[in-house]
């Protein structure tokens, strides 16, 4: 009976999504409480599902009275539970930030809940066409949320994503159609069987289907060179939206790719089609390199970490294409870990923007002095993204790298070594941009008025104006050099929240969540073996 939890988990946010609009007729701000209740309920349901899966293995539920393979099936196994947990936790945690940072209004929360419901469905569905539906729900709610602050730039970013995303989803649908033609079924498990029985792994229809699905999902995942919508979307979206979108949307799409590749097409299909995996590895490698390099070039913080996601998802796609157990484990761990890391990073950046108006790398001078806890947490998360060991960011990358080397050793295919080398180079790039952030936090701004060692300026406020003039004079003829060097230290914006406990001028609840997220990434890093234990049944099934 516990399989009823699955449709309930999807229905709760979807139904709740209608409430803010309905209640909005009467109440000004019904959205946030509704969203809070719905996401809390989702978190509870996720916990229950997780317990059931831990106790009795995979859950499945047939919707309505139609039995699969005709009816739609919902499935929860170890992999989907892990991603579902990420969805539940992040959507709940982001709410605290959204409450203070906006966007406000009931319609935003409707969209928010629609997105959460779509993500939940995407994770739990066991049917290819149903997956397309949820993909579209996620996509459409994301388009709406990106434009939620009604600025021109975000509208353009949203439109770009809308057009490209729709084409991508169509490609996916086309791929599903091909597969349906070849097998006559849409249920994932059934199709896995039917591909072998009615077609073959070499069937052009099956191959074309996989090509279209990979292209469509690859767009949603945002791998190079079809990533162009993603940096714009992340950068232009309101901070709270970026936080949830960056943590969950691409993650869920990558989950879908993983699910389709391993549950529908299976590892044998990948093994039988070397060109497919090689092609995917090449794209993944290019994605890792280009994403890292582009990230290192950025000066806008959100854009920098947006490009970083391109690189990280490149690694996950590589893990999928490598098709060996270690790499896939690494891919799953990195999928979840990266989601958590990016949630924390974008939350931290959002907090700094909210409290201090800092959006560029150059604005961050002496951040560790004015906002020590925020800066510390962001630094920890950034180091995790680099892959410094006690963090989960290290585990994922490590397993992918090891898996890549293993596959080369086993099969003599040089692509694996290439991926390992590319991951190494990407780590250096990641270090370079994370180090720039940390350098701004902890070392820049020495001697600036109000910055490090500027106590003497406090005594004479009359001097401050003179200093500013001098700074401007230098900036006028100094070009780029002085534009970075002479920025003042991080100063709070007017009316920034104040807390009695910490010097950071950021919302305390969100700060607590940020710190919790930072420590969670480290705690999960220590739980490497537990993660392995948890995913072991899934991996055993996939590689059986």
């Amino acid at each position: 009976m516990s399989d009823v939890l699955l449709p309930v988990a999807i229905t709760v946010p979807l139904v709740a999504a209608t409430l803010p609009l309905a209640l909005g007729l009467k109440y000004e701000s019904a959205g946030w409480p509704v969203a809070a209740v719905a996401t809390t309920a989702l978190a509870g349901l996720t916990g229950a599902i997780g317990l059931e899966v831990a106790r009795g293995g995979a859950l499945s539920h047939a919707l309505g009275t139609y039995e699969p393979p005709v009816g739609i099936e919902l499935v929860a196994d170890e992999l989907s539970v892990a991603v579902l947990a990420l969805v539940a936790v992040v959507s709940l945690a982001t709410l605290a930030f959204a409450r203070v940072a906006g966007p406000r209004g009931n319609s935003f929360y409707s969209g928010y809940l629609l997105l959460v419901g779509g993500l939940t469905g995407l994770v739990l569905t066991g049917d290819l066409f149903n997956m397309f539906v949820f993909l579209e729900i996620v996509g459409i709610s994301t388009y709406a949320l990106i434009a939620a602050d009604r600025s021109g730039a975000s509208a353009y970013a949203s439109l770009k994503y809308l057009v490209v995303g729709t084409v991508g989803a169509s490609l996916y649908l086309l791929g599903v159609g091909y597969a349906f033609l070849a097998t006559g079924t849409l249920n994932m498990l059934d199709m896995q069987v039917q591909i072998v029985e009615q077609a073959s792994y070499a069937d052009p229809l099956i191959r074309a289907s996989y090509a279209l699905i990979v292209a469509g999902l690859g767009l949603k995942v945002a791998v190079f060179p079809i990533h162009a919508w993603q940096p714009d979307a992340y950068q232009r979206a309101p901070d709270a939206v970026t936080t949830i979108v960056a943590a969950l949307v691409s993650t869920a799409s990558a989950y879908a790719l993983m699910r389709v590749s391993y549950t529908v097409f299976t590892v044998d299909f990948l093994a039988a089609n070397d060109a497919i995996t090689t092609g995917m590895l090449i794209v993944a490698g290019a994605s890792i390199l280009a994403g890292s390099a582009l990230a290192a070039m950025q000066s806008d913080l959100k854009r920098m970490f947006a490009y970083s996601s391109v690189a990280q998802f490149g690694m996950i796609v590589a893990a999928i294409a490598l098709a060996n157990e270690t790499a896939l484990l690494g891919g799953i761990v990195h999928l979840v870990g990266h989601g958590l890391l990016k949630f924390g990073l974008f939350l931290g950046i959002g907090l700094l923007a909210l409290g201090y108006g800092a959006r560029e790398l150059d604005d961050l001078a002496s951040a560790a002095r004015s906002a020590p806890y925020t800066a510390g947490a962001v630094a920890l998360l950034g180091l995790g993204l680099v892959g410094i060991p006690p963090s989960i960011g290290f585990l994922g990358k490590w397993y992918i790298g090891v898996g890549a080397v293993e596959s080369s050793m086993a099969g003599g295919d040089p692509a694996g070594i290439g991926i390992a080398a590319v991951i190494f180079v990407s780590t250096l790039f990641t270090l370079s941009y994370v180090a720039r952030v940390i350098e701004r936090f902890y070392f820049a701004g020495v001697g600036l008025p109000g910055g490090h060692g500027a106590e003497h300026d406090e005594s004479g406020h009359g001097d401050v104006g003179g200093h500013d003039d001098a700074d401007r004079g230098v900036a006028a003829d100094g070009g780029r050099e002085s534009a970075t060097g002479d920025d003042g230290p991080l100063t709070p914006v007017e009316g920034a929240p104040r807390s009695r406990l910490v010097p950071d001028r950021v919302p305390p609840a969100s700060l607590a969540i940020l710190i919790l997220a930072a420590f969670t990434t480290i705690a999960l890093g220590f739980g490497g073996y537990a993660l392995f234990e948890w995913f072991d049944p899934y991996l055993t099934e996939v590689f059986a």
Partner: protein
């Protein structure tokens, strides 16, 4: 008895004594120091009676080592070093040496003894490097001009030590063991490195300039210690490395004898003059060790001659440094031309000087006569490059060195003790100085007369005293030879006095070239390395800056390259890329 003695490495005791000198009052401290050195002496004497063997053999860092290796050679070194160190401690006490000098001297003696009793190359190189450090400290302690000279000294010995270290490493790599007992000398592949490394300490020509540079500078008591331990230990280690000798070593020794004696002749600083004689005397010893290559029993005879000369040299060379030190201590003058007529006011010092000078110049009745005669006799058997009198080049070199020695000690004595009227009226030596000098001088006379005792202390005693070897120091030919040298020396000095004086101002040693050369070479290489690195740094930073700028301003960079396009991917281009990707994927996936 022996088992107790062999369990106490003397250098540990000496190191503790060095600390005691600092901790205790001056008198007590020096007493402790003298006790420790006396113990070193007595232990070596007692172990001579059946105490030989590799004691304290153990494992260190996973290597087999011997920390207290007692054989004929290390014992004779232990005897003479212990004896002379005792005399030198007494002398230091009598010369008002600061306790720091005595303490550094003691730790220096300790490292010397450690080197002597090492039974493997690892222990040896450890103490060898320490010896360089402690002797540098001893020089530096005096301050003033000694600091710069000490710095050059440290550079020389640092480089030399590194060479020897390299030799030891190469030796181990080839021989697989550090133990002396496992191989005959150092492995052939390490020979050159070892020869250079040890040669620095021996004062090979061109590597010797630290000797006259350093030894005249520190405290007079420190000079006494320095003058005998580093170079003589180096000769001893040379034997450890090359027990089979070699003609290259013998000829090198011959040239060193001439070179050192010649430059000594040009000096007016008494301690500088004596320092050049160290090089000359080491030349005789190396000649003896080098001639080990001769057929038995001549080879053994030559080695014994070399070691006997080493033994005697420790005694008389320090005696001379003591006597000269007394004069400097009492007068404060370090130029012999400003001295003169001192024999009246310093009769004891004069007498001691005469004993030392007679020993070093090999006057019959003094110990130098015995050992130098042995080396020259051995050289007489070498008939390569025969010159006059049916004698080879080596013999003539050694004879020439002998003449130079005579001349320079006549010069030294003449200037210090005669040479015009006495302008200075210093007191004579202090009681403890006298005690130290009498100890050393007494030994010089003793071994000159009772030369069988000397041979008893030497290795290969049976061979020397055996039937096959002609060992009669006081034979007519030896006496004639000595007299001829003496006469030549006197005549030579007084006829050549003026030309030599002229030459003394115009004849630089090789350091006039080598020091500036090394200095400018080092400065040049430092400049070169710095500038090269700076260039690399500029290039790298320039490249990074360009890459960064290009990354930050891609549009401008393209414009500069003449391409003016929008590089941001708009909506249309995004869709194009997507369709292209899907197309390529289809193409690849389906048609593969």
């Amino acid at each position: 008895m022996n088992s107790i003695l062999t369990s106490v490495p003397p250098y540990v005791l000496l190191a503790f004594a060095a600390l005691a000198v600092l901790a205790l009052p001056r008198r007590l401290g020096h007493a402790a120091a003298a006790l420790a050195t006396t113990f070193t002496f007595a232990q070596a004497v007692l172990l001579g009676d059946g105490g030989t063997g590799a004691h304290l053999a153990t494992q260190f860092l996973g290597f087999d080592v011997v920390w207290f290796n007692v054989d004929q050679f290390s014992l004779l070194m232990g005897v003479v070093v212990g004896f002379l160190a005792t005399a030198a401690v007494l002398y230091a006490y009598g010369t008002e040496a600061p306790t720091w000098v005595t303490s550094f001297a003691l730790i220096y003696v300790a490292t010397t003894v450690g080197t002597i009793y090492a039974g493997d190359w690892l222990t040896l190189i450890f103490f060898w490097e320490l010896m360089a450090v402690t002797s540098t400290l001893l020089v530096w302690q005096y301050g003033g001009a000694a600091v710069r000279a000490g710095y050059r000294y440290a550079l020389f010995h640092g480089i030399g030590g590194t060479f020897l270290l390299g030799a030891v490493v190469v030796h181990f790599a080839n021989a697989g063991t550090f133990l002396f007992s496992a191989t005959t000398g150092i492995h052939a592949s390490a020979a050159l490195l070892a020869a250079i490394g040890i040669g620095v300490n021996c004062g090979f020509i061109f590597l010797h300039t630290w000797l006259p540079d350093t030894y005249p500078r520190p405290h007079v008591a420190a000079s006494v210690f320095l003058s005998v331990f580093t170079t003589k230990t180096a000769v001893y280690v040379m034997y450890r490395a090359f027990p089979e000798g070699g003609m290259w070593l013998a000829y090198l020794g011959g040239f060193m004898a001439v070179y050192g004696a010649f430059f000594a002749l040009l000096q007016y600083d008494p301690r500088r003059l004596l320092s050049y004689h160290i090089q000359a005397q080491v030349g005789y010893m190396l000649a003896g060790l080098g001639l080990a290559t001769l057929a038995a029993p001549s080879g053994e005879f030559a080695v014994t001659g070399g070691f006997a000369h080493l033994f005697n040299n420790v005694l008389y060379k320090s005696l001379l440094f003591m006597a000269v030190g007394v004069v400097i201590y009492r007068t404060g003058v370090e130029d012999i031309r400003e001295m003169g007529g001192l024999w009246r006011v310093m009769p004891v010092t004069f007498l001691v000087y005469v004993v030392g000078a007679a020993s070093i110049t090999a006057v019959p009745g003094f110990n130098g006569f015995i050992s130098k005669g042995m080396v020259i006799d051995s050289a007489h058997e070498v008939h390569n490059y025969v010159l006059l009198l049916d004698s080879g080049l080596l013999w003539w070199l050694l004879i020439l060195g002998g003449v130079g020695t005579f001349m320079s000690f006549i010069k030294l004595g003449y200037y210090m003790f005669f040479h015009g009227s006495a302008t200075l009226t210093p007191k004579d030596a202090t009681p403890f100085q006298t005690a130290g000098m009498v100890l050393a001088g007494g030994a010089c006379v003793f071994f000159g007369v009772f030369y069988y005792q000397l041979i008893e202390l030497m290795p290969f005693t049976e061979i020397i005293l055996g039937e096959d070897v002609y060992f009669k120091p006081y034979s007519t030919s030896h006496l004639t030879e000595s007299a001829a040298l003496l006469v030549t020396g006197f005549v030579g000095f007084f006829t050549l006095k003026r030309p030599l004086g002229w030459l003394a101002h115009r004849m630089p040693d090789v350091d006039a070239v080598t020091y500036p050369a090394v200095f400018y070479l080092a400065r040049g290489s430092i400049w070169g390395v710095t500038e090269l690195w700076a260039a690399v740094d500029r290039a790298v930073m320039g490249t990074i800056a360009t890459a960064e700028w290009t990354g930050m301003h891609p549009r401008e960079a393209l414009a500069r390259a003449g391409v003016d396009v929008e590089i941001r991917t708009g909506i249309g281009r995004s869709v194009l890329f997507l369709t292209l990707t899907a197309g390529v994927a289809l193409f690849v996936f389906v048609l593969s």
